[in-house]
Symmetry: C2
């Protein structure tokens, strides 16, 4: 068996932008894994594919044939992404050892519901792995989420295990903070085992700040660049206190947040509460809500059994200088860094993640995080489709 593997991760998110592909070199697995990021490439979907995917994933009724054909068609698009990535890296595809493909989520319902006399929660990712195997020859791991759901979990988040592989340190305690629309944390005590990972959504990340900025600028600005608005404003204390009293922030993990909670209705609520206030003060207050709920979550989920030393930030919010400064102020004991400081580009992290998860699956190592998903036990995620390289990869004759 080879000492290290070249693994490609494929991710196409719910934003339906396209498929991201990342190449990493991995040796070992679990807490012993060493991961070197090599290359990342983004492949936008053609418009007509994005449209039909939007239709299907928004729940519009379609025939089973549409879903079946889309499954194969996305398999073809994913294969093209693999071949493009290889060509950009001056590799031939037969130098690749393994592919981890998340697939395109067209449905996700993590709360079990009664259905024809059965209790069902489900998540459906499409992008046929058999097409990837045929067009690349490489062994593929696909379909990660259903296994966690089958074990009673919500099938998400899966990235905390990736954080564990990439950032667990023998000496330092680390917190990973992803500042997307929603903010989420992965807390990694020093020398932690996978069952000591804590990971959950803290609440709004950039979502609220972005929505307010768009509202005040009549859609001209998409986000508060460098936090300029926020930094020139003042916190409206009664509004902040009111928002902080939301029971979600006190809830113990596992917990997840979404647009249904902190989206436009939430923005409207805040605008109503702060009717006479200045725009910059409202944005400042929203920024403070993000910062405070993150800082509080870090405090609440730390205990005196371990020390935390670093906060490693990724996602669009990294560029909000004011927000990051406020985090520094509230968390003076933490060194604030970004995933880029560890040579993991923020954009590439999820695609890298599915390369890492595929490697764990291949090594038959449980790779969900039950404390984050609510699963009743650890499981090996995904399904394996044998490539032409499978025997060699396993070290079989």
């Amino acid at each position: 068996m080879k000492n290290s593997k070249l693994v490609i991760g494929l991710m196409s998110g719910t934003s339906l932008d396209g498929v991201d592909a990342a190449l990493v070199e991995i040796s070992g697995f679990g807490s012993q894994a060493i991961v070197n990021f090599k290359h990342f490439t983004s492949n936008p979907f053609p418009d007509e594919i994005r449209k039909i995917l939007l239709k299907v994933s928004s729940g519009e009724p379609v025939s089973s044939g549409i879903i079946s054909n889309l499954n194969v068609l996305l398999g073809q698009i994913f294969s093209q992404a693999v071949l493009k990535l290889c060509s950009e890296c001056h590799l031939t595809v037969n130098q690749i050892d393994l592919i981890g493909s998340h697939g395109q989520t067209i449905f996700h319902q993590s709360e079990p519901r009664k259905l024809w006399g059965h209790t069902v929660a489900s998540s459906l990712q499409i992008g046929e792995a058999a097409i990837l195997v045929e067009q690349t020859g490489v062994t593929v791991v696909s379909d990660f989420r259903p296994r966690d759901l089958a074990a009673g979990g919500t099938g998400a988040p899966l990235i905390p295990y990736v954080d564990f592989v990439l950032f667990r340190d023998p000496i330092l305690g680390r917190v990973l903070l992803n500042l997307g629309g929603i903010a989420n944390l992965t807390i990694l005590p020093p020398k932690c085992q996978s069952n000591q990972i804590r990971a959950f959504d803290t609440g709004p990340g950039n979502m609220l700040i972005d929505d307010l900025t768009r509202h005040f600028s009549q859609g001209e600005k998409q986000f508060d660049a460098q936090g300029q608005q926020a930094s020139s404003g003042k916190i409206i204390v009664p509004v902040l206190e009111n928002l902080l009293s939301d029971p979600f922030f006190k809830k113990k993990p596992p917990k997840s947040a979404g647009r249904e909670q902190f989206g436009q209705c939430y923005t409207k609520r805040i605008l109503a509460m702060a009717e006479l206030a200045q725009e910059k003060d409202i944005i400042c207050t929203a920024t403070e809500l993000t910062v405070r709920t993150i800082a509080d979550a870090i405090f609440t989920n730390s205990d005196n059994t371990f020390e935390l030393n670093q906060l490693i930030v990724s996602g669009g919010g990294v560029h909000n200088t004011y927000l990051i400064q406020r985090l520094k102020n509230l968390l003076p004991h933490l060194e604030i860094m970004t995933t880029d400081d560890f040579k993991i580009p923020s954009d590439a992290k999820e695609a890298i993640g599915f390369a890492i998860l595929a490697n764990e699956t291949f090594e038959i190592n449980a790779n969900n995080v039950p404390s984050a998903t609510g699963a009743t036990h650890p499981v090996v995620l995904g399904k394996i489709s044998y490539g032409q390289n499978y025997r060699k990869l396993r070290g079989f004759n």
Copy 2:
């Protein structure tokens, strides 16, 4: 590693009756496999599940959520079938080594079509393997057909490989004949390798005889019991000659037939052609068409490089004594037997088949038959989901 495996095969057909489960003991694989049939059980679908499956597979538009939830729900029903089979055999589920699950086909389009700028053929089976793994703990192979389609095949038939494993003989040349609605053959020269298998549909099996019987009895009789009608009738030669001139019968394999070709429109055509004839003569002629096309196909696909010795029949047509007698008359050099003579119950054959195909996949042995499906090359079908027993099964530490 164990010398033999206990493998369960699960099959739910397009008739939407329910899920069939068969238990076999297998040692070895490929031409060296030894398969012992142990038990078979049929599990009808609840009415409401059959109804929704019928809706989905007939192409009625539904939301992606319905398909996603049905995928999980069928996973639960398949798991119940496994547990029931084990209990009927007085086995605990952790004595089972492997499960092969065909899944429920909700779409199958083997002819490639242009779709949003891509050329797509696809087949979609549902019945989530992750649920089977969670509820049984056993390693599962699922999703067999897409890999053959990805290799340019039609994703069907898959049973010829099973015929090869079960009936290939070092000395005898054998023909497997399945007399379902459509008749299909698998020709196994003595000592053949998997690339020497010939398998294809010959044309109507019972479909035409059954349709005519239903027509003449105003739906009272479903089939010509023991071929009584046919045996009392005479062949209408011009009608038979006309039917035999259909180019399908001359077409070289791979070829497949279906209800769209030999269904009710075909029946109507024959009724029009034989307007003034007696009912029993028309049924006799239809029976002769089935028999002649089978016999002709066996002649056309034999050559003097090997001898054929036995014709092994399965499917409902086994009970049509007259039809079997006519086969004997036309193929006097063949000993006519049934799969039951080999302790393979005809009803259980498909479910047994997916146990055998799963065993081949686990052993990383190609298990499609390119000459039958039209695939450009042999492939290992299916996807593996690891059960708790996977390491032990592989002989890993």
